[in-house]
Symmetry: C2
Subunit: 268 residues, 2 copies
């Protein structure tokens, strides 16, 4: 199997994401190694040796790197590998297009020194404090309120909206009383414009709930079918926008929610 | 201000992260617009018109795109913009290097169809269930146990380790009794090899706690100083590896923890 290195003088998260996006277009497995924080020439030489030790007779290792420091970048690029320089490939043309020089600054990509970062941490704390209908007191501060039946994906989606996009997200699980009356609880009604519904295929819900509480009424296919049917009726009746989470990842679910609601992402 | 578009036929998360990494090397502000899920030729034409409407006399908008579909990519690339194609720039050379053709598949980057995705969702659920020392029963299943004083960054770090890297992370806040005895609780001692400590500058801790409970003993600088001093003594006495979170983002903190502990990232 071909070895792939993701290397950076920072967290290497950018190098991993780019490398993965590119390699996912090839239907073959790779042996992946990530090496972050290559911050000195000595460390770069060690890493170059590790790269060299991974060449086989037929194959050179692939290297995806995003290295700000020029000296360190040179050492990595000159190892026995097929190097893909993510930063420089795009930075040089941009210097011309923008008419300004790049100022290579380490740790600016995933650093702490900006307002958006505090907004993201605040949003994470908000989403944790307002997970699973723990309290309905703080809904004034919510940007989005996710609703749905138990285990349809509300919590991971809330946290991802907070962590990746900086959106303060509360979530509320519908319980029997809500469904019997087929209406929104009074506290939620006041914030109806912020509400977004999730639904899920009953079979998938049955599988997920069975992992938690096997052979219970809660996890029975009959119960899952009933709850999903009722919740979708409620969404239509109240004209709540909603999506089916069954076939989507949290990245896809949350990107779709923002696309539909028109919220601006605050990533950086 | 120059307008930047991040465009994709998927979530556009990759385009945003890469675009941001490149632009962070330039010390100038940008007006950023993200357009995900451009999945049809009709939608692509609408987006191309929106791009065209953002050209000013001196400036063409920048476009960073990661578009799998060839027809859609063409339409975007031919709008009046300076286009940067993340995917193709690297895919074409890789086809030669690997000796195999790329098979453009949509939604493979942030899709659900892989084991690593389930591992990440399981890790998120684990980290939520084992946040803030809620229970110490499940520590057998933890890959990492973060410890530290209240509000030093344990919860966001635990969630990020789970969400981004698929690492099941519990966290435990030291309380007065632990600190008085200056030793690890018995339940944690059994799992000492998994424990990683966080510390923080007392002034920063004072600021953070004051936002929660102003003018309390809990948030007083005196109390913060005392707790931080004691927890660092405990780390040294018990030889627990630890890092200071004061100047780092969650991305940096968690990447450092994995680098020090040697845990393998499971991103995709």
């Amino acid at each position: 199997m071909r070895t792939v290195f993701y290397i950076s003088d920072g967290t290497a998260i950018t190098a991993e994401i780019l490398g993965h996006a590119v390699l996912s277009q090839f239907d073959t497995p790779f042996d992946q190694i990530t090496i972050p924080f290559v911050e000195s020439v000595e460390r770069a030489r060690e890493v170059a040796e590790e790269i060299n030790s991974h060449q086989s007779e037929e194959n050179l290792p692939l290297v995806f790197h995003s290295i700000v420091d020029e000296n360190i970048r040179e050492i990595i690029a000159q190892s026995n590998c097929l190097a893909h320089d993510f930063l420089n490939t795009f930075v040089a043309p941009l210097e011309k297009q923008l008419g300004i020089k790049a100022e290579p600054t380490l740790h600016r990509t995933h650093g702490i020194a900006n307002k958006a970062y505090s907004a993201r941490i605040d949003a994470i704390n908000y989403s944790l404090d307002n997970d699973d209908g723990i309290t309905l007191k703080n809904l004034d501060d919510a940007e989005i309120i996710l609703v749905g039946v138990s285990r349809c994906g509300k919590t991971p989606s809330s946290l991802y909206l907070a962590m990746q996009f900086g959106i303060a997200t509360a979530n509320y699980p519908f319980i029997c009383q809500d469904m019997d009356a087929l209406k929104l609880p009074q506290e939620l009604k006041k914030h109806k414009h912020k509400i977004f519904g999730l639904t899920i295929d009953p079979h998938r819900l049955h599988d997920i709930r069975s992992q938690r509480r096997a052979n219970s009424q809660y996890s029975s296919l009959r119960q899952c079918r009933l709850e999903v049917k009722e919740v979708e009726m409620l969404y239509r009746k109240e004209r709540i926008p909603y999506i089916d989470t069954t076939k989507y990842s949290v990245e896809e679910i949350t990107a779709k929610i923002l696309d539909i609601t028109g919220h601006k992402r605050t990533m950086f």
